[in-house]
Point group: C2
Amino acid sequence: MTSAEIRPEVGRGAASTSAEPVWWGWGSALAHQPLPASFSALLGQLGIPVRATRPVGPGEVRLPPMRLPAAARRALEAVVGEAHVRTGAEERIRHCRGRSTTDLLLLRSGDASAAPDAVVLPVDHDEVLAVLRVATRERVVVVPFGGGTSVVGGLVPSGLDGRPVIALDLRRLDRLGRIDRESGTAELDAGLRGPQVEELLAPHGLTLGHIPQSWEYATVGGFAATRSSGQASGGYGRFDDLVVALRVATPAGGWDLGRAPASAAGPDLRELVLGSEGTFGVITRVTVRVRPLPARRIYEGWSVPDFGTGLQLVRDLSARDLRPTICRLSDETETAGELPTDTVAGTEGGVAGGCRLITGFEGSGAAVAEHARQVAVVLRAGGSRPLGPDVGAAWEAGRFRAPYLRDALLDLGVFAETLETAGFWSTLPALYGGVRAALVDTLGEAGLAPVVMCHVSHLYATGASLYFTVVCGQGDDPIRSWQAAKAAAGEAIVAAGGTITHHHAVGTEHRPWLGDEIGSLGLDVLRAVKRTLDPVGILNPGVLIG
Amino acid sequence: MTSAEIRPEVGRGAASTSAEPVWWGWGSALAHQPLPASFSALLGQLGIPVRATRPVGPGEVRLPPMRLPAAARRALEAVVGEAHVRTGAEERIRHCRGRSTTDLLLLRSGDASAAPDAVVLPVDHDEVLAVLRVATRERVVVVPFGGGTSVVGGLVPSGLDGRPVIALDLRRLDRLGRIDRESGTAELDAGLRGPQVEELLAPHGLTLGHIPQSWEYATVGGFAATRSSGQASGGYGRFDDLVVALRVATPAGGWDLGRAPASAAGPDLRELVLGSEGTFGVITRVTVRVRPLPARRIYEGWSVPDFGTGLQLVRDLSARDLRPTICRLSDETETAGELPTDTVAGTEGGVAGGCRLITGFEGSGAAVAEHARQVAVVLRAGGSRPLGPDVGAAWEAGRFRAPYLRDALLDLGVFAETLETAGFWSTLPALYGGVRAALVDTLGEAGLAPVVMCHVSHLYATGASLYFTVVCGQGDDPIRSWQAAKAAAGEAIVAAGGTITHHHAVGTEHRPWLGDEIGSLGLDVLRAVKRTLDPVGILNPGVLIG
């Protein structure tokens, strides 16, 4: 069985393209591939039970009645045009939930109970403002919708009190504005997806360089609203580092922020919009730092002796200002899952017992080679062995593969999900151990025999991120089992002093721990800001803050 | 006449040390020096009228009656101890206003009408919290006081409605907390002055590297509250870049922020505290990034053909990721004022007609030399000529001199003041021209024959700062003349798209333009945050926001 054989697909709407994702999973059906043999073998070795499943057919999806009042609909149509207020089943299902495994399990079962009543597609900032005015007046809940790739429940509002919900799809905000070559900045509309950004910038010899795993579908507005971090954050910075100015449409009016690269004109309010997850306003345009397209790229694989040594080595690279553009250190379990021995046959020494480290360098020619050379000196001195460019190339070729792989696993009745955190260097070993134990213990107690893998993929001067992947059986109630495991992991993160999320955002799933992170005063401050910008509370209620 | 000859000094109180600044000027009397011959000669050449003046004697200072009610005083004494609630004339005068030229002109004339009623010196975070509870209950206004070096009216509250005012002097919060060598961080009490920080870190082989011109007196809490930027920002970052965690005492309770180097757990609320200028709470402790003490330092002087070319060159250095640790480009006028021809006699070609550029490099040995070499290649290719290390050393030796020089100028009846802004690279030429013209025209119309100098001293990928120094006669009403010039400069900054302040903060002086910077929604947001954290409005009313 290949995963392509069991794919139903909803018929295409007007806004669909060939790359439009399936409604029940990740990415387009065309890109889905069967599970790699190495992974299938691993499942067998680990005793994870396999049981073929498939999403329900489109006709079996349970969609609640459309509740948008006619008056509200007419008012919205007056703003964006009749063609851009959509209430058809397909549009509503396509805007139902995000792309967490819980989301997909519900969708695959035909549960579209969280679908919006309508999808509204404004064309620009002024139309977004006008939609928000209508929604405020008509008491319609608005869920800003970019790529729909949230994995933390960021598209599932709560506390609706019977109010109708519209998904505010920003795909028509897809323009490249002014490029300021002198300053190295470009204005990007919020609805631009990752590939669109690079396609628009490339003819100018420029790149944004922000490539998270969700890059194929995630949007500029979503990057900003969730504080996204790309795989090349070591070289290009997190998305919040790349933002120099923001335009926001709020129920209280339009808001422009950012007049200089740095300022002492009070608190930096851009940092209040970044990470606000559509609860304060709708980001409609972002001015970002851009860079020349890299003249040279070097991706390499290394085998480091063990994860603890690897953590020390990547810390040393950071401390010496040698952070690679891309740097991904896998723990022993992830290394075993990601790097079957046949991949490294013939390489120097293999990776038996070690951990995989991927390094990537991008930039101008000579500097890139020198950077890679200096990093190699540090890695060799720390007992690492080069696996060569093929391992780097293999990682690069598969950099967007994981969520497709998850679909293939779900087709086999296997559960797969991720969570992430970050902490200061001194906290990382305990953070790693605590979260891993919480996941292993909780899922193990549920009899699900979890495989818990981890990698470090974002380095900072004072610390780094940890990204966990869990693969296990589904048992009788995988959503409930995962909620228990996720809760245990959250408690472990708080106990070890880490942050509840490094780049996935808060959504609804991390809300229980936001108070631990920013204090009750922090929650009070966020609520006060929300009351100021969204007095009626139409924007994404229940997301980020209650 | 030397400036030392005409210095009265208030008798020393218990908290004074040999480095305690004079009450009417900058720094300790011991450090004051007569005006350099080159500067005196310049004043003569420029026709700026000289007229010896001196501050009034201590007995001539006009201090308003002390209005702190006995009950409030007793309650404060119960928190911090009787010895730490001070109402003597000297203490009140020493905590009156900051160190703008307007502040100094008023103080020198004996106007201490803005003095607080009492000075309160808590010893730690808990005492600060307790003081804020008392002040909230007794409706006493609290002005957080670090080094007292504000140049934007940040220590002059308004809208008092008859309420008494205490200066909350944080000098007793002077401890170095935990050093986390693994993570490269250190916990610093808010009351530590710049030199104290380096003295405490040096035995550990570490440095903060944050050296603004106010370094001798300014404090860690002040650096954070005003978004300070040090002279070595190119290498070490702005102070806000160095902050990883904050502890804040607010009237609504204590607040701890910062659990990881980066996070997606909602808006970054540290960025709301940074720049809040004591209006939301009192920063009591800051965890900062620290670095190894540099093994090598190279400071050099260059002559670049003209200011426009210099802007292009420093932009190129930024774009190529070659930003020096320190980089200061003076315009033609500042070069003439700062670099008398005798200083560069015998150097290659001199600086006639050119602009001075200072570059500084700090770090580990080989990397520093290579960095300096690469920068030299770019500078030479741009037509610059090296002036050698002596010019660099001379700049370094005089890096804290300017405010002492101002005192000497005030003694001669000459006005001197500074203002600063920042913008994206493409805006800088118009920003420079607009602000310069506004200052020259406004002061010229007042018949004050201004000399307006400028330098660039903080480089970013997308832009830079501009720092203006104005020297002119005082005329009949120098404060009023300066207010008009400052207002014209503010309008010019807004018109050219720059920020109203790059590192001096808003205080009271920049308030008229804060709405242009962050919008009326931004002001509403700041007020909402303030109401949440300081519901009775005791903290620094009238500073930052109205």
